[in-house]
C-alpha cells in the first residue's frame, strides 16, 4: 500500500479517544479547536495590554508633562507595545488562532498532524507571554530600545532596561520562536500531507493557502531573529562584540560585563538580520489577513473569487519576493547606495502581486450579490484601508523619498495603516464570520457595526494626520517636542487631536471584546451553516464540530472552494463535498 494511503486508512479506522477530565479537555487539550481558542484568548488579552500601552504614549505626546509619564516609561511602552502587537498579538492570533482552527476543518482532517506538539506550542506561547511581562519585575524594567532592539543603543547605559530588560525580552522572543516552530511544523505538515480525498492544493480555500505560506515564511524568517537574539544576548552576557563596535560614552570606552572593552562589532549586521526577519514578518501578518478577507468577500458576495489561480500564484510570488526586500528598512542606515537601488526595485516589484490581489477582490465584488453583513463591512473596510497603506509604502520604497521620510511619523502612519488597522479589520471580520462555528451563536450585529465604523473612521482620523506630521518633519520615537522650533503650533495641536481620536478608538476596541463575551452567553442561536458557505468547516454534522471533527468518515471533496451562485443550481451555493452529479444540469463547477 502507498504510504499516503496507509496514513489515510490508519487515520480513518482509528477510534477516537475523547478526553474525559476537565484538565485534559480545557488546559492540556490536544484538540486543535481548543488549542485555537487558547491562542485566541491569550493573544487578545495580551493585545489589551498593547492597547493600554499605546494610550500611555499618546497621552504623553498629546499632553506633554500632564500625566507624569517619565521618559523611561515612555520608551518602555513603545518597545513593549510594538513587540506585543506584531508578535504576541498578530502573529499568534492569525497563525495560532485562525490557523489552528481552520486548517484541519477546512481541509477535512480530524486534527493537526501532531496534536501533542500542537498542545506544547500553545503552552510555550503562554510561557513566552509570561516571560515578556516578567520583564516589568526585573531591576530596571523592560528594555526601551524600540521593538527593533537595535544595538549598540539597546546595551548602552541610559537606555531603560539595558541590563536585564533586554535579557528577558530575548528569552521571551526565543521561547515564542520555539512555540511558533512547533505550531508551524504542524500547519505545514497538515496542509501538505493530510487533506481529505479530492482536496487538491488547487481546491484549498484561499485562507488555507495564505496561512500555509505565511507559516513557511515564518519557518524561514524566524531563524534570523533567533540568531540575532542569541548573538545580542551573548554580547550582553558573555562579553562578545558581535554587534557592539568601539563606542565611547561620556569619553569612556564602553565596556562589557567583564569590564573589557567592546570592539569591532557590526551594528549594521544586526539590522540586516533583524530585517531579514522583520520584513517577512510583515507578510506573516499580511497573508493570513488577505486570506480571511478572500473568504469573507467570496462568501458574503455570493460569488466565486475572481481568478483563484492568479490569487494563488500572486501569493507564492509575494512569499518569494518578501525575502529579498528587507533592506528597504535600512536606506538611511549607512549601507552601500547600490544596495539601496536593488532593494528599492524589489520593493516596488512586490507591489505588483499585491495589487493583483486587490484588483481580484474588487472584481469579485463587481456585480455580485453583495450581502452587507457585518463581516462584509469589515472586508470592504479592509480593502480601502489596505490600499491607502500600500500607497504610502510606494513612497517609502523609493530611496530618495525615504531618506526624507525615514524615522518620521509618516512611517508610523504607514505601518499602522497596513499592519495595525488592516489586520484588526480582517481579524474582526473573521471572528464575526466564524463565531457561529465556534459557539453556535452569532455575534451582535449592532455592536459589530458600531465597532466597525468607530475603528474604520477612527483609523483615518489618527493615521492620516500622522502622515502629515511626518511630512512636516516630526520624528518618531521622541518623548516630547518642546523647544523644537520647526515643530509648529499647528503640529502640536494635531498631536492633541490624534491623542483624542486614539483614545476613542482605543475604547471602542473594548466593545469588540465585550461583544465576544456577551454573544458567547447571550447571542442569538443559529442553525448549521448560517452564512450558507461552501467550505468544509461548515459541513460537519454538528455545529460546533465535535472532537475529531468528522464523526464517521472523512469527507470527500468534489469541487473548488467557491461554488457560489452557480447558474442552474437549486441553491446559490454548493458545498465542496457535494458530488458533481448531484447538482442540476448546466451547473458547471469552477476549478
Amino acid at each position: 500500500m502507498q504510504d499516503a494511503e496507509l496514513n489515510q486508512t490508519f487515520y480513518e479506522g482509528q477510534t477516537i479517544h475523547h478526553p474525559k477530565s476537565w484538565l485534559t479537555k480545557y488546559v492540556f487539550s490536544q484538540d486543535h479547536k481548543t488549542v485555537a481558542i487558547q491562542y485566541f484568548s491569550l493573544s487578545l488579552l495580551t493585545g489589551v495590554v498593547g492597547v493600554i500601552l499605546s494610550m500611555v504614549m499618546r497621552l504623553q505626546l498629546g499632553f506633554p508633562g500632564l500625566f507624569d509619564i517619565s521618559p523611561d516609561t515612555y520608551y518602555q511602552s513603545i518597545t513593549m507595545h510594538g513587540m506585543i502587537m506584531v508578535i504576541y498579538l498578530l502573529t499568534a492570533i492569525l497563525l495560532g488562532g485562525f490557523g489552528n482552527f481552520l486548517i484541519p476543518l477546512m481541509l477535512g482532517a480530524r486534527d493537526m498532524a501532531f496534536p501533542f506538539v500542537n498542545m506544547m506550542s500553545v503552552h510555550f506561547y503562554a510561557l513566552s507571554v509570561i516571560l515578556l511581562f516578567a520583564s516589568y519585575l526585573v531591576p530596571g524594567g523592560p528594555t526601551g530600545a524600540g521593538w527593533t532592539l537595535y544595538p549598540p543603543q539597546v546595551l548602552l547605559p541610559g537606555t531603560p532596561g539595558y541590563d536585564w530588560g533586554i535579557v528577558m525580552m530575548i528569552l521571551s522572543v526565543a521561547v515564542f520562536i520555539i512555540a511558533f516552530t512547533m505550531g508551524g511544523l504542524n500547519y505545514v505538515t497538515t496542509v501538505l500531507q493530510s487533506r481529505a480525498r479530492g482536496m487538491t492544493l488547487m481546491r484549498m480555500p484561499l485562507v488555507i493557502w495564505c496561512i500555509f505560506l505565511a507559516t513557511v515564511i515564518g519557518l524561514l524568517a524566524f531563524p534570523a531573529l533567533l540568531v540575532a537574539g542569541i548573538m545580542l544576548l551573548l554580547d550582553r552576557l558573555i562579553g562578545s562584540s558581535f554587534f557592539m563596535p568601539d563606542i565611547f560614552q561620556f569619553g569612556q570606552h564602553v565596556t562589557n560585563v567583564f569590564g573589557t572593552e567592546y570592539e569591532g562589532g557590526s551594528p549594521l549586521l544586526f539590522q540586516h538580520l533583524f530585517w531579514f526577519f522583520g520584513h517577512p514578518e510583515v507578510y506573516i501578518v499580511a497573508l493570513p489577513m488577505f486570506g480571511i478577507v478572500s473568504e469573507l468577500i467570496s462568501c458574503h458576495a455570493r460569488k466565486n473569487i475572481f481568478g483563484y489561480k492568479m490569487m494563488v500564484w500572486a501569493l507564492i510570488a509575494i512569499t518569494a519576493v518578501s525575502f529579498i526586500v528587507w533592506a528597504h528598512h535600512m536606506f538611511v542606515a549607512g549601507m552601500n547606495p547600490v544596495l539601496g537601488f536593488f532593494f528599492a526595485t524589489t520593493t516596488l516589484i512586490i507591489a505588483i502581486p499585491t495589487a493583483i490581489k486587490v484588483y481580484n477582490w474588487v472584481l469579485t465584488l463587481w456585480k455580485a450579490d453583495i450581502h452587507m453583513t457585518v463581516p462584509m463591512y469589515y472586508a470592504v473596510g479592509f480593502i480601502f484601508t489596505f490600499i491607502i497603506g500600500g500607497l504610502g509604502g510606494l513612497f517609502l520604497g523609493n530611496v530618495s523619498v525615504d531618506v526624507e521620510l525615514s524615522d518620521t511619523y509618516f512611517v508610523v502612519g504607514h505601518f499602522h495603516v497596513v499592519m495595525g488597522i488592516s489586520p484588526i479589520l480582517a481579524l474582526c471580520g473573521g471572528v464575526h464570520h466564524w463565531f457561529p462555528l465556534i459557539t453556535g451563536r452569532t455575534m451582535n450585529n449592532f455592536l459589530g457595526k458600531i465597532h466597525f465604523w468607530g475603528t474604520f473612521a477612527g483609523a483615518y482620523l489618527i493615521y492620516i494626520p500622522m502622515h502629515y506630521l511626518g511630512l512636516g518633519g516630526v520624528l518618531r520615537r521622541y518623548y516630547d517636542f518642546k523647544g523644537l522650533a520647526y515643530v509648529s503650533d499647528s503640529l502640536h495641536d494635531m498631536n492633541v487631536f490624534i491623542t483624542l481620536a486614539s483614545i476613542v478608538v482605543g475604547l471602542i476596541q473594548f466593545l469588540f471584546l465585550f461583544n465576544i463575551v456577551w454573544s458567547y452567553f447571550k447571542g442569538k442561536k443559529v442553525e448549521k451553516n448560517p452564512w450558507k458557505a461552501t467550505t468544509l468547516e461548515w459541513q460537519t454534522t454538528t455545529m460546533p464540530p465535535g472532537h475529531g471533527n468528522w464523526p464517521n468518515k472523512l469527507p470527500t471533496v468534489h469541487r473548488g472552494p467557491y461554488d457560489y451562485s452557480v447558474p442552474g443550481a437549486s441553491e446559490d451555493y454548493i458545498p465542496q463535498n457535494v458530488p458533481l452529479e448531484a447538482e442540476t444540469e448546466g451547473g458547471s463547477s469552477h476549478e
Binding site: 494511503e5 489515510q8 501538505l192 487538491t200 548573538m231 569591532g264 557590526s266
Partner: protein, 213 residues
C-alpha cells in the same frame, strides 16, 4: 513543469511519505536557516573586522611528539562524525529489512560516535580556554570575535549532536525493546537518521568555513 505542479498538488498528500518524515524535513530546512544565518554572520564579521583574523592552523594545532600538527584533533573529530553517519545509514538499511537487532546495534554505534565527538569537542574547548587563553571577549591571536564565534557556532552544533545522541539512544532502546513491531515499519529510524545526517552535513560546512578558511 505543469505536470510537476499537478503531481504536487494532488489530493491527500503532496509527498508520498509519512507525516513524521515530512515534518522532520521541514524542520531541517528551518534549522538550515539557523545555521546558515550563523555562518553568514560569521563571514560578514570576519570580512569587516579591523584586527587580523587568527591563523587557524596555528590555533587549532595539537602538540604531538614535539611538533605542532595542525588540525589533527579536528580531523579525527570529523572522521568520527562522518563514520557515524555511515553506521546510521547501515542502521536505516537494516530497519528497512526489519532486522531489529542489527538496527539497534548500529544505532548504538552511532550514539557512541556522537559521544566521542562531543567529548573531543569538550577537550578542544578546555584546551583553547585553559591553555591558549581564548575568551569570548578576546584572545592573543587576533580579532576578538574569533573566540566568540568559535564558541557560539561549535557550541550550537555540539548541542545538536548532544540532542541527537539522546534522541538516537531513546529510539534505539525502543527498537530493541520491540516497541515498533507491527505498528510501524521502522520509519522512525529513518526519521532519526535524517536528523543525524543533517547534523553531520552541517559540520562539514562549519569545518570548511571555520577551520580551513
Amino acid at each position: 513543469m505543469n505536470d510537476l505542479v499537478k503531481d504536487w498538488s494532488s489530493d491527500v498528500s503532496t509527498f508520498k511519505i509519512r507525516w513524521s518524515k515530512a515534518m522532520m524535513w521541514i524542520f531541517l530546512i528551518s534549522d538550515t536557516f539557523i545555521f546558515g544565518t550563523f555562518l553568514i554572520s560569521y563571514m560578514a564579521i570576519r570580512l569587516t573586522v579591523v584586527d587580523s583574523w587568527p591563523d587557524t592552523s596555528q590555533v587549532f594545532a595539537l602538540h604531538v611528539g614535539g611538533t605542532d600538527v595542525p588540525l589533527l584533533l579536528i580531523a579525527i573529530m570529523t572522521f568520527i562524525l562522518i563514520s557515524s553517519s555511515g553506521t546510521m545509514a547501515i542502521a536505516v538499511n537494516a530497519a528497512n529489512k526489519k532486522d531489529k537487532r542489527k538496527t539497534g546495534i548500529f544505532m548504538l554505534l552511532t550514539v557512541l560516535g556522537g559521544i566521542a565527538f562531543v567529548s573531543m569537542q569538550a577537550f578542544e574547548w578546555t584546551k583553547l580556554i585553559v591553555d591558549e587563553g581564548i575568551r569570548p571577549w578576546g584572545n592573543d591571536f587576533g580579532a576578538q570575535q574569533f573566540g566568540s564565534f568559535f564558541f557560539m557556532i561549535t557550541g550550537f552544533h555540539g548541542l545538536h549532536v548532544l540532542i541527537g545522541v539522546i534522541y538516537l539512544s531513546i529510539v534505539s532502546k525502543r527498537v530493541l525493546a520491540g516497541r515498533y513491531d507491527g505498528i510501524d515499519d521502522y520509519q522512525i529510524v529513518e526519521v532519526a537518521g535524517l536528523y543525524w545526517h543533517f547534523v553531520d552535513l552541517v559540520w562539514v560546512f562549519i569545518f570548511a568555513f571555520f577551520y580551513l578558511w
